[in-house]
Symmetry: C2
Subunit: 375 residues, 2 copies
């Protein structure tokens, strides 16, 4: 196993320049559902300084379409910083002046870790449609290899939103002695049937696109239309009705005629979101990861006492009032399951019109609460 910096760090600036690294394991990585990855690459990024006793590490697993680039900019003129830059950085809620923060691209993804776009060393060809089915448990188990590689025996915390929150719960369940506390934002104990339904339609868009070809497409020749439309749908579920009112209302695209396919501002916005997504995401990854999320179900383990344990990690559950994909009721259920077995747990609700995406937006109240929880 080796860690190779594959990208030189940008010239130092005040903007927290970062570089990603690749961790490579030549060992076969068996998967929960029976498949195996013949080898493993995990792309990760770190921020801040690891203390000599390695006690200050916080892992921030990403959501469905996120990646290892959690915070900072590679270059000062990058248009956007990492996806959670509002919460992660010097003096921020997750303070990189005090903590060593780790972001890891999930396996099955398409941002550098082993996924459908990777070459299968057994065949010399990309996995594509042959990439095996994965679970969030697999994703966390792979993530942990990076943590161990960095010499960290116990994480100070795992903090994640949406699919990242599910991973935090899996750390709590599978490695309770290796995490001090978890913060779960905008997620629940299981993927709800309606959330599965939304993902199912999104997948149908991809799988029924004639360019999908069972996943056996060349990069750039895949189901671009289906993936774009599937993402349009997913995007609706990340907002709230109030957010749609405020962002777009019933405004029309200037000059649009009644029969035009893109007539309303909200249509134009979603259309743009779909097009942009195709440029940065792979359809096979979308299928593998949404299916992994749909499989997520810890209700039985919560009931059996193998999710939360009294001497396990502390828990902070954070709900967003207008999130209808992972409603606050799910986070309160999570809190109830934790407190029922004596876990030091708390619930914080962010009152917002932003919907599920609320966890990505700046919020002073949440920052203060998260900062306090991390100690």
């Amino acid at each position: 196993m080796s860690a190779v910096p594959v990208q030189p760090a940008a010239a130092p600036t005040e903007l927290c320049p970062v570089a990603f690294q690749d961790f490579h394991s030549p060992e076969p990585f068996p998967l929960e559902l029976g498949g195996v990855l013949p080898e493993l690459t995990l792309r990760y990024e770190t921020y801040g300084t690891l203390l000599p006793d390695k006690s200050n590490a916080i892992l921030v697993p990403h959501a469905l379409s996120g990646d290892h680039h959690v915070a900072g900019r590679y270059r000062p003129d990058d248009v956007k910083p990492g996806w959670w830059d509002v919460f992660v950085g010097p003096g921020k809620a997750i303070d990189t002046d005090r903590f060593f923060v780790i972001g890891v691209n999930c396996i099955g993804g398409c941002k550098g870790s082993t996924g459908p776009l990777s070459v299968d060393p057994r065949t010399g060809c990309r996995f594509g449609g042959f990439f095996p089915e994965i679970t969030l448990g697999d994703i966390v188990r792979a993530q942990r290899m990076v943590v161990r590689h960095l010499g960290i025996a116990k994480l100070h915390a795992v903090v994640g939103g949406s699919m990242g929150g599910m991973q935090a719960l899996l750390w709590c369940a599978d490695y309770p002695r290796e995490v001090g506390r978890i913060a779960v934002l905008a997620a629940g104990l299981s993927q709800s049937p309606m959330a599965i339904a939304l993902n199912a339609v999104s997948r149908a868009c991809v799988e029924k696109d004639p360019y999908f070809r069972g996943g056996h497409y060349e990069p750039g020749e895949g189901p671009a239309t289906g993936l774009a439309v599937g993402r349009m749908l997913a995007h609706i579920s990340y907002l709230s009705s109030a957010a749609f009112d405020q962002k777009f209302g019933r405004a029309k695209v200037p000059g649009a005629q009644p029969g035009d396919p893109v007539h309303w501002q909200v249509e134009s916005y979603l259309d743009h979101q779909g097009e942009a997504f195709v440029k940065r995401f792979d359809a096979n990854s979308w299928l593998r990861i949404t299916r992994a999320v749909d499989r997520f179900d810890m209700t039985a383990r919560a009931a059996a006492g193998s999710l939360f344990q009294g001497d396990g990690p502390d828990v902070l559950a954070i709900g967003f009032s207008s999130d209808w994909l992972y409603p606050t009721s799910e986070l309160r259920m999570l809190l109830a399951a934790a407190t029922a077995v004596g876990v030091n747990a708390a619930y914080h609700e962010v009152i917002t019109d932003a919907g599920h995406d609320g966890f990505l937006l700046p919020d002073t109240g949440l920052s203060v609460r998260l900062h306090a929880f991390l100690g």
Copy 2:
């Protein structure tokens, strides 16, 4: 103008046998957005007996994918009765022993009234993609020709759910002296931006299907896949999260493997709904009608006092507690707008987990309320 029974009535049974009729107008029908239909056919169905003074007629406009077949069976062995048979029939909430009930297929539809599948007499070819854009105002204005044809100067009531409720509001606004009362179920004063967004994605599924060809397809050779997936999405918006929990939970299709496109029961259900819809609906109709619904906005007229008027129709607004497509807040807003100008108006809330589709399901409380409102 003529009314020709095009289908012989089924043999009399206790099941309220019905037959549809076609009303034909050879006159050009100008449309609100500038187009024109060179002639007009309206398919309609009636139940019960019109009193000699023609004072007992109730119009029941249908929702997006409904039609003129509101109640009863054409033949005793029909698998399903009309779409609102639970509310319309002898002794039911809309009692056909007392009232003469009218259902009319909307223009732009595909169940017999002039729509994209109709032949344009100017060209001898089907309208297809050339069918003009319509509004719900056009649909109501065409509907009214059937009402006039039946010799009815004033309807006792217009009762409609979802898009049917919007049409009831248009009757109230455009023909206030021709309606005694309106009942609006599961609709609001305007189509919300999030509801537009959902329709937009549904339309994108159709329009981006390579078989769509700008709407210029032969029947049976159209965008079947896109329409099926678009309907899958629409179907999600008709239910609630609780309904998904109760109907499907996290159950898997027996024997389904992890990577199968149809793995969950809810996926199988939606897949079936999409496939079934393609057999009974036309993609161009779907586009025309969803765009007409998206255009629906009576907020300005409500504010200007030209929607509700003190001496206009009585109003009953009926909301369904778990409807997130047309939330109860929209019906309460409708009530507020009506009462503000002195209309005799009331609001009734049905507590249900059924979501938007709640208005199609039996509910004793609602039946009693509706029955009382109709007098």
